[in-house]
Each structure stands twice: as structure tokens, then as C-alpha cells.
Symmetry: C2
Subunit: 305 residues, 2 copies
């Protein structure tokens, strides 16, 4: 595209400056955007703005100042609060502005949200993200998106600035969330399976490092085995993503399928494993700590400091 | 190693010329070995020998002619039959000969077999394989092995000729089988999870190709998802590895843990899914056909011929 064909750079806002949202706001700033931000913790928004950008006191104030508003909050309830709560964004988003919904939510709810915003003339992208905090900060997320051509026309450069890969799955709001739900099913089952397999190996007396080396080069490998069992080998359960996230996300997977009366035996079993871990007091530890539900195994210990 | 340091090439035999064993015998021949073979189907052994090598009428006759005997049969019962059945090999293996046990078996049984052979002065390698028929034929298997230094001293060049990677896990017979059991736990759970996830996506109306593309580039990916869901996309359930193999292998995983009273919730659930598939008449189809236990989904159909 030549410079004169390029649309004016959209004004962009990010609401929710957790590990993911903060990284995304920073990569947008790095890409040259003037970024507005809001977070329930004003000091976090102000901290961000000290290096460039503007902190807003409410979602509504932020909404009034942007062309694209990116929501990076924990769940559907928080999205509701951002849009329709006190000083909410929905009433102050102008027609033609795009709300980019990055949370992991029930696909049916997401589709409905698209309709509610459309009533106000606000465009909507269903756009769950994957990749973790490090890739968010590097602008290398994966986004699983769906929505109208009109919404993409405005938001596309913003999506590209945050992501290594933007999947465009179709017009129907909810498709992005459906794919994200499928991904979370697999991610959760694979973490629990990795823990179960490593626990069995340790119980049988296989050295943990040797087991990791063989499995990561065999047909039993998964992205999650390779990533999470490295935490178990290091004996480091500092939460990068916590047990309670998969209590929530596998719960969402199961909830999304139940109205269809659709059975998900492995997701249900893995969910019980994360629930057992959480009930044992491990909810805030790294999700790989689900291995601690297996009794009488000698887990690798962290190296002496 | 200079030529004069190289030990004399061991005489090698392969018993069991199924998809794996035949490929392994061929890669040994390609590597320059004079290969003796035996199979319950004499025509298969003779067919192999027509292109080089020797067909033997019984495991015992083969055993008397080799330095390394590689067993590539389906299960422990068949290994028992090869070694201790009519015209069995055990009585005719000379002291110092190595029996290489490549089947997927209970690790405790494998350790015991090592002891029984040691009583006769026969060396033993516990050496389950992974990689599938194509890699067997290319000499690019993964072998998960354990055994004594004396056994490796004789058999090492034979292992290397069949494999891309030989893992040497320690002296204790059974360690190789323990790692293989852990791999099969993961492989079986991942196939069933891939089927469950793809089924959920199809039920929700996500296009199968788009789902495959996103998942294989996301944190939900596994080796098995990538490999087996390609069969589902193609609508091709020609068995490369059958449903009934995982009925057997996950059964073995569960059996190996039960004496230790060790719980394996995901392996147990996945086993039930393969049993349900087998009970529905899908036992001889490709293991990816486990997706057919999910009701009321529109699976991709094969392209018209």
C-alpha cells in the first residue's frame, strides 16, 4: 500500500492491564500507536502512561477517545462490567468504533454481545488470544478472530501490531471463541495428561530428565508437555498461568457444550483433576502443579540457591 | 573407528514380519547385514528372503544362526511363544547372544524376562520402538532401550542401523518398557483428546480445516492431533494403527499401574473411549476413528474418486 492509500492510524485503547493486556499495550506503543489505557488499578494505568500514552479514569472516558477498543479482561463478567457497568464503555463508543473482545468466553455469549453492540452501531470482533505474557509483550500473539468486514477494515492494523498470526475465521461473531474453547480443551487435557504421565514415570522410577528427553522427541509429545513439564523438572511452580485458570477455562468448555447435550469425557476428567488441585490449596500455583494431586511420588526439587 | 577396530558384523535375525518388523528387517539389509527372518506366515519370510537374507522355518532355527535376535511381535504372549513355545528360540540361543525385545509390554514382565534369559547366559535388551511403519522402513525408528553394557556391546550397531535415535535409559531391564508405557499413555490420551476437540468444533459449526490450521499452530497442539486429525480431515480411516491397538496399549498402561495402586484418570477415560469405539465395530479402523463415538456430528467426507 502506498502512503497516500493508507488509512489514518486508528486511535486505540486497551482496557485491562494484566500480564497479557500490558504486553499488548506496550507492543502497540512500540508499533507507533498513541495508546489510551484503563485498569481498575489506576497506578498500573499511570505507570504505563509515564512511558507514553494516556491513562483514563474509566472505561467510558477511554471509549470516548478511541477508534478501536481492545478488551483484555479475565472473563465475560468483567467484559460486561467494562461495557455496561458504572462509567461503562458501551454508551460512549461512537458508531463505527470497533470493540475487540480478547477474553476467553462462552461462544454463545460472545455472539450475543456482538448483537448488543450492533444495536448501538458499534462494530465487534470476537478475538480471543493465545501465547502467554512473553509473546504478548513481543507483539507475537496468536489471535483467533471472527467478525464483519467493516470491523476488520478499521481494526486490522491494530490486530497485526499485536500478533504474529491473526486467524480470520469468518463473519459470525462467536467463531473465534469457539476455536479458542477447542484450544483450551486441548491445552487443559494436555497439561493434566502430561502431569499424569510424568507422575507414572516417576512412580515407576524413571529419571525425570530422561523421560522428558524421550517424550519430547516421540509421538507422545504435546506443546504443553514440552512447556509445562520443564517447570516440573525445575521444581518451579511459580504461576505463569495458574491452576485456577484451567478450573475456569475447562469449566467454560464444559458449560459451552452442555446446552447441546454434547459429551466431553476427557475435558470433564481433566477438569476434576484441576478442581482437586485447587481444593488442595494449589489454585494459585502454576498449572503444572496439577501433578501434585498424584500421591507418593518424588517430584524433582529446585536447585539450591 | 578405523576398519581394523571394527568388531565383526553380528549375524542378525528378525522374528515377526508385520508392518514394523518387515521395515526393520529391510533397513538392516539395506545397511549391509545378512538378515535371517522368521514369521508365522512362511510366505512372508520367503518373500523377504527373495531379495536377500534367509527365511527360517521356526524361531528355534533362526535363534541357532544369529548373534542378535530382534523380536518384533505384537505382545508379551507372542514373545513367550517365540522364546518358549514349540521350536522356541530360548533353548537355542547361545550364551552371549542378545535378544532385543521390541514389543510394547508390561515393564515388570520385561524385567522378569531379562532374568529368565540371563539364567541361560543369553543377554537381553528391553527395547520398545516408536515411529510407525514408514519410519521402520526408512531405518528411522526411535528405540527406548535399557540393558547391560555387555548386551549393548554386541547389539549397538544393529540398533543404530534400524533407528534415527536410540535412547539408552540404564542397565535395568524394564526401564525401556516403562518409558514406552508413559509414551503410550500420552499417545492414547492425545488421540482421544484430538477426537473430542475436533468433534466439539464440528458440533459448534467450526470449519474442520480452519480448526486444524489454528490448533496445529497453537498451544493446544500435540504430535497426535497434527498426525491423526489429518486422517479425519481426509475422511480416510484406513488403519495405519488401529483402534484395537490402543484398546490393548491403554489397557497395558492401566494394568502396569494397578499393582502399585496408582490412579490414572485420563488414561482410564481414554481407554473407555477406545473400548466404546471397538464395541461399535470400529476396532480395525484407524485409531482416529475414535471420533466416531461422538454422536450427531458431520465428519468430513473423502473427496470423490
Amino acid at each position: 500500500m502506498s502512503d497516500q492509500d493508507r488509512p489514518a492510524q486508528p486511535r486505540v485503547g486497551v482496557v485491562g492491564l494484566g500480564a497479557m493486556g500490558l504486553g499488548m499495550a506496550r507492543s502497540l506503543r512500540k508499533a507507533g500507536y498513541e495508546v489510551g489505557v484503563h485498569d481498575l488499578r489506576p497506578e498500573v494505568a499511570e505507570g504505563f502512561a509515564r512511558d507514553g500514552g494516556t491513562a483514563f479514569a474509566s472505561p467510558g472516558d477511554l471509549a470516548a477517545a478511541v477508534d478501536v477498543m481492545v478488551g483484555v479482561v479475565v472473563n465475560a463478567a468483567q467484559v460486561e462490567s467494562v461495557l455496561f457497568g458504572a462509567d461503562g464503555a458501551a454508551a460512549r463508543l461512537s458508531p463505527g468504533v470497533v470493540f475487540v473482545m480478547c477474553s476467553t468466553v462462552d461462544p454463545g455469549w460472545s455472539a450475543e454481545l456482538g448483537g448488543r453492540l450492533a444495536e448501538r452501531g458499534v462494530l465487534y470482533l470476537d478475538a480471543p488470544i493465545s501465547g502467554g505474557a512473553a509473546r504478548a509483550a513481543a507483539g507475537e500473539l496468536t489471535m483467533m478472530t471472527s467478525g464483519s468486514a467493516a470491523a476488520y477494515a478499521v481494526a486490522d492494523p491494530v490486530l497485526e501490531a499485536m500478533s504474529a498470526t491473526v486467524y480470520r475465521l469468518g463473519e459470525q461473531a462467536g467463531l473465534g471463541s469457539k476455536v479458542k474453547i477447542v484450544n483450551q480443551l486441548l491445552a487443559g487435557v494436555h497439561i493434566a495428561a502430561a502431569a499424569e504421565a510424568m507422575a507414572l514415570g516417576l512412580k515407576a522410577g524413571v529419571p525425570a530428565e530422561a523421560l522428558y528427553e524421550v517424550i519430547t522427541h516421540s509421538a507422545g509429545n504435546s506443546w504443553m508437555f514440552e512447556n509445562r513439564m520443564a517447570h516440573v523438572l525445575a521444581g518451579d511452580y511459580t504461576a505463569l498461568s495458574a491452576v485456577d485458570i484451567f478450573v475456569k477455562d475447562l469449566g467454560l468448555v464444559l458449560d459451552s457444550a452442555r446446552p447441546e447435550r454434547f459429551p466431553l469425557p476427557l475435558a470433564a476428567t481433566a477438569h476434576q483433576m484441576f478442581l482437586q488441585a485447587s481444593a488442595s490449596g494449589l489454585g494459585a500455583e502454576d498449572d503444572s502443579a496439577v501433578i501434585k494431586i498424584f500421591p507418593a511420588i518424588d517430584l524433582p526439587q529446585p536447585a539450591e540457591a
